[in-house]
Subunit: 313 residues, 4 copies
């Protein structure tokens, strides 16, 4: 198969891109994310038609947040948004006239990294995506592990604190409440409120109140040595690394790949994650350690991965 189209549905915009067999993006199109499910489907179709006009493609892969069924057709449930049994594949196929494959967005990103990014050369890889929330994808023996019902790899919702923070999924103590972009912001705001004298740089990047601290401020302040910003990354890393150690006990991959917006900070966040991973790894003196790698494809991993999954049919 030649060219395929990958679609990434984000909270604020939808991106479609034509991708070739080497994972290169030939053309992209971004549109704002409409507020309604039907609007989203129309927007996907529009974006697909736009990019396929100049680059005829043979199939479409869509990365969508939530639990996708094992026919890769329907979003069963999205923990943080309001999709319940949404028949995405059929609706988009009707509009664009191409075969469509729907995949969980973090699975698509994992596949992208495995095929064309940090995971090349590994057969068993576990990816975590630290974006607003926390997503996961699993490659076992060179294949995407989707599970019996299509919903494997939902790392964000394993329970890491009994009776812990409420989660959008209805449960409590989910990992993504402690290791995600949203968690990072919470850490920074709480600490800046309690000890503002240790957050002078950080507070100065907003309007001076903890409530206006955002993710980009924390990165910038951490690089400038702001104690609260550094400590917030450390707290994130504590939870991320401890969770990776658990995943090593479960999956035993040769490498972990850490992606998502939070990972854009590189070693600022990767190094403390590696340290925490090693600290919590059971029997760490007696066993080989998986590598903890930074993702390489940035925000395009999902789009590229979805396109490649569509190619593989």
């Amino acid at each position: 198969m030649g060219l395929t189209i990958g679609v990434d549905i984000g909270g604020t915009k939808i991106a479609a891109g034509v991708v070739d067999e080497e994972g290169s993006i030939l053309e992209t199109c971004k549109v704002p994310t409409p507020p309604t499910p039907e609007g989203v489907i129309d927007a996907i179709a529009d974006a697909v038609r736009t990019v396929s006009a100049s680059h005829p493609a043979e199939a479409v892969g869509i990365g969508a947040a939530g639990y996708v069924d094992n026919k890769r057709a329907t979003v069963l449930f999205a923990p943080n948004i309001n999709w319940r049994h949404e028949a995405l594949k059929d609706k988009v196929e009707q509009r664009v006239g191409l075969p469509v494959v729907v995949e969980n967005d973090a699975n698509a990103a994992a596949w992208g990294e495995y095929r064309f990014g940090a995971g090349q050369g590994h057969d068993d890889v576990v990816c975590i995506t630290l974006g607003t929330g926390l997503g996961g994808g699993i490659i076992i023996g060179g294949r995407l592990h989707r599970g019996r019902f299509g919903v494997a790899g939902e790392f964000g919702h394993i329970r890491v604190v009994p009776d812990g923070l409420l989660c959008g999924c209805g449960s409590q103590g989910c990992w993504e409440q402690y290791a995600s972009g949203r968690a990072l912001v919470r850490y920074a705001r709480q600490r800046a409120a309690a000890t503002p004298e240790n957050a002078e740089v950080l507070l100065g990047l907003g309007d001076g109140t903890p409530e206006t601290i955002e993710g980009k401020h924390i990165s910038e302040a951490a690089r400038a040595g702001d104690p609260v910003a550094v400590d917030s990354f450390r707290e994130l890393a504590r939870w991320a690394g401890a969770g990776l150690a658990d995943l090593a006990s479960l999956f035993d991959p040769s490498a972990f790949i850490v992606g998502g917006g939070v990972s854009d900070e590189g070693d600022l966040v990767l190094d403390p994650i590696r340290k925490s991973f090693r600290r919590w790894l059971v029997g760490n003196q007696w066993r080989p350690h998986a590598q903890v790698l930074a993702a390489q494809l940035g925000g395009e991993a999902g789009l590229v991965g979805a396109a490649d999954l569509a190619r593989q049919g």
Copy 2:
């Protein structure tokens, strides 16, 4: 290949058995577990020779507690006992003159259940073994998932309580401290000490003090309706079921199999585990549920599974 021999190394005794292609045990031999590593190896060799005398076998599979390397030859690390890089395969092969395969004991038991027990007909199965500790085994696509370094499926040591109970592995809050036979006894003793008037049956089965309560007492008392015994099973199930819900988020199997001594109690323990599983399953109204099945092979699952793995080479 015809007959093979499975070996199960337990804390108090070592069992060897000749197993045929249907998973039937033709002959067994049990010997006490010696206190030293070398003694254990001699005892294994003796037991293998005994059973192979009348039933010539072609290979030996050994199920051993701990992390076994990906060559299925060496026990790297045993969380609760003192084996570190123990070259079990070579040493036993030298003594018995047959090819030997070493496997984690819970993996072997999982394989036994998959091939000849509760897992028949399923392709993706996750097994937990609630014995003294908690072991795990994973079947994906009809194959035992051993991981890149051979140490996947170490469920007992994922962290379910931050800063929780100390574990023999050196970590804290490991699942097996909350869901295992040992945990069940702790629950019962604590509750009987605090509210002896609710543990009359249970205390009557020992010498009347909480310290003498053992696992078999709890089962018997629970069947007689003893409130503390019933509540202890409920607490065990609370942790076991919540953990299975996490495993569903990670692996998404079609079935879970619950084995080990604790599962011998059948629905007394399985029903509350199923209830807790369902309570904690993320998106439980919107997705298919994996079955939670009782193991069928009892204490012989490990021996049968190890023999079958040896057959497969």
Copy 3:
């Protein structure tokens, strides 16, 4: 001093009452709670004037949610509402021309129970108020313990779960997130969503969806044996009792008094709290146990207590 007036500021209404030296209420007046701080003060003044018209009183005691300073004049901080350094005493005195004493509402309720309710005959009493949130009051040696800065007894905000639920106070894992009327409703909704077949009575009292479950439904359903309702009370009691055990380690009172709306259910909630208290009490076999008593004054404890504190000057 003769008659005094007690004022209780609730979320929906403000009550003022004339109280005599025996703690009897001679006349009351209730007005809706205005939405602004100034409106609240005007409403208090109106209510006080109304009841004092026919019963001339000599002083006013106000029970207010939040941290009240040690001059009993200013609300420093209210964890769940937006009062910061509100000079309540001065503002009300200017309007009504009587001496005013401001007291934390749970302290006032504790004092009411100590003087005229369940605490009579005890010198060292600790009260918890399980209303929407969780408040506390401490009597030591027959005196209300207010602390050096006036803010002792803020039980609701001690941390019982590290990294636990977010609280209105800005912290995480506060006791009132686990033991309060609000927590009870959360328990019931979560359980009813997960296992609706065990919540048939409970769901039938609302519109059939978990989101419409309210506190009164849980009480009614629990009395009818609805499993989810019973279990929700049990969970509340688990946290309430464990916290009382901690308070026994700290204060060692002769009695605990449990008040607030949740305690209106009597032994339905008191018995499991007593059981949980005993289970968690350190050294429970070797020490005298404090009694755990139901409050006797119901919703009027705060008003009566505030009036009595005003009398004592």
Copy 4:
């Protein structure tokens, strides 16, 4: 009353001292702690006779670990040692012919600090003693708060982690498992085992293995900047400070005093405790903060305090 004798019963030795009205120790005597309860009582009597020979004293105060009854006569229960209803007062009085007062050892130390150490000038003080375990003492209105049954101030056994570490008292998650000298050593050993390259100084002070790390090594290494040692103190401070914040919500004292062997390190440990205290203090921007002070009397606080309590009768 003139001179009195204070006795401090430690795990390894018993100290008796003659103390004057200013809290000065005129003479001391130390003997090894015998292994049996009766032996301990004989040793106390011997030490008392020795010091009283040259300094005739009028009464004896004994600081003993555990729950002491409200007659200050009997040790009801010692969480970590094997005393149950031990009639210490009577037995020592019979042997030495002087009136004896028994007090919880941490209460005695708190009293010593209040009267002659860091607590002078404060009326409401809460002391924590970070020794091997964690003890507490409460001064309210210039009086030692002993509680209705004599067992108030047992801070070490409030639950700070649900389902947390097992404690010698039979409960789980007790504060002293996370904030005490024993906890500090556990933190250091776990971290040194996981990341030995960050513990070079620390490991070099023992025989190079984590198991030989002791408290004094951690202090020395922390002063030399050893990362694991510094991080271990930080972890201790995290738990100590969070607990003090809870105590502020409960007691609202004007000052906390931190004593015990761990506090000998001064600001090395006090500064991070203060920081953590402030971070966790509810409403910390809106209320006065209690001071967090280092104890001043060192290891003699208990002896001096016990002697002074005996003087007061």
